[in-house]
């Protein structure tokens, strides 16, 4: 897309109103944030967050787009993006299952939950299943240790989970063996 971006700068003048030069209108939302932050280079992390919210993940194209917009070296943008665990570089699955593996949840058997889901849907922790239906993630302490073990399924925080309850939950949404 870097080539597209460069070309599109010249074409920007005669494009249809409401259409982003890259051909993907989702970039408008990123542009909006960039303009609001006045293209400040120290807005890199915030911009990456916005881009990830918009696209669901950070592709190479998006990283190049952000680097060019903020006039930062691409290697620096890549370095910052890969440093933080909250940024992801693969498209997420339809459903996401995050298991807390912090100390309290670990003691209460979070590892078994991770392994259970991992085995049932053949998806290693931190990755997405082959049919892109489920992303299994682990997190380091969600700050709700009284609810251990905690599972976050599609944004919903669920307390006191067991292997079976988690598998039932995933099965009800994703289908397959529970």
């Amino acid at each position: 897309m870097s080539d597209t971006t460069m070309r599109s700068v010249a074409e920007a003048a005669d494009r249809a109103p409401g259409e982003h030069p890259s051909g993907d209108n989702r970039f408008d939302l990123v542009d909006k944030h960039l303009k609001r932050s006045r293209y400040a280079q120290d807005q890199l992390i915030e911009t990456l967050h916005v881009a990830q919210d918009v696209f669901g993940f950070l592709s190479e194209d998006i990283l190049i787009y952000v680097a060019r917009a903020l006039r930062l070296p691409p290697s620096m943008v890549y370095g910052v993006a890969t440093f933080y665990q909250l940024f992801t570089f693969d498209p997420p699955g339809d459903h996401s299952c995050t298991v807390c593996t912090g100390t309290a949840c670990f003691v209460k058997g979070a590892d078994d939950i991770v392994q259970g889901v991992s085995a049932a849907y053949n998806v290693p922790a931190g990755e997405t299943s082959e049919d892109r239906s489920l992303t299994l993630k682990t997190a380091r302490c969600l700050g709700s240790c009284g609810l251990a073990p905690v599972v976050v399924f599609d944004g919903e925080v669920l307390s006191h989970q067991s292997v079976q309850s988690t598998l039932d939950l995933v099965a009800s949404a994703v289908g397959g063996d529970g």
């Binding site: 190479e60 990283l63 190049i64 070296p73 691409p74 290697s75 620096m76 943008v77 890549y78 370095g79 890969t82 440093f83």
Partner: protein
């Protein structure tokens, strides 16, 4: 020319020296002829403070201080050579050697390697830790240079020299912890890099055999980190400017 900067007294291992206010312990030691081993530090580049080889003891402070990132203070009593420091430096070197593939016998920089020299200097003759050496890619896509991740110690000299002296910022560190690695642009092959100017400063400053010229055999690679000091000093003084312009 007489130096007119304000000075303070410091002592290295009991010997009194005069230090300029604002300079680092390492700079002062180098100027006074006191040896403090270092690895990631390179004169002319900003201080990184990552390798911790240059740690020193300061009197009445139980913490070890990195000499490169510690400013001198009045009446500072600095110890550069104690059993504790020797043990720490040795451990750091052993961890570095265990982390990657640092087998000297098959390295392009054998005999011209700062890591090797440092191991000799600190008396590190064996490694107590299991070698990790995860298989990492060797990038020989660049027409002039080769980058061997396995020999990289993440000193970031290449990152800093490319950013600060050349101004291209081709290199950076990606990921973190044990997964940290030096990358070019968006982790693409170096040869495909659009921002690399082929200047070779990164190769000149590399302390190990991680960066080398194409076609070098075992022990044939010689680096030239002093080049960066010459460049940086000359640039700061404006030595290459037209004398007429300088007035």
């Amino acid at each position: 020319m007489r130096e007119t900067r304000p000075t303070v007294h410091v002592s290295f291992d009991g010997v009194e020296h005069e230090a300029f206010v604002g300079e680092s312990v390492l700079e002062c030691a180098r100027r006074c002829g006191v040896t403090i081993p270092s690895l990631c530090f390179l004169e002319g580049l900003t201080v990184w403070g990552g390798c911790r080889i240059c740690v020193v003891e300061v009197a009445e402070d139980h913490r070890l201080r990195p000499a490169c990132a510690t400013q001198v203070a009045a009446d500072m009593e600095i110890k550069t050579e104690t059993p504790r420091l020797r043990a720490y430096r040795k451990s750091i070197l052993e961890l570095l050697f265990a982390e990657g593939n640092h087998v000297c016998a098959v390295c392009v920089s054998n005999g011209n390697c700062e890591l090797q020299d440092m191991a000799v200097f600190c008396g590190m003759d064996h490694v107590r830790y299991d070698s990790q050496a995860p298989p990492r890619e060797v990038d020989s896509s660049h027409p002039k240079y080769v980058f061997d991740q396995n020999r990289c110690i993440l000193c970031t000299r290449c990152v800093r020299v490319c950013d600060e002296i050349e101004g291209a910022h081709v290199w950076d560190i990606s990921h973190r912890g044990e997964h940290a690695e030096v990358i070019t642009e968006l982790n693409r092959p170096w040869g495909e890099s659009l921002s690399c100017t082929w200047c070779g400063k990164c190769v000149a400053v590399c302390p190990t055999g991680a960066l080398s010229y194409q076609g070098r055999a075992i022990g044939e690679m010689e680096h030239d980190p002093a080049m960066i000091k010459r460049l940086a000093v000359a640039r700061n003084r404006g030595e290459w400017l037209d004398p007429g312009v300088m007035t």
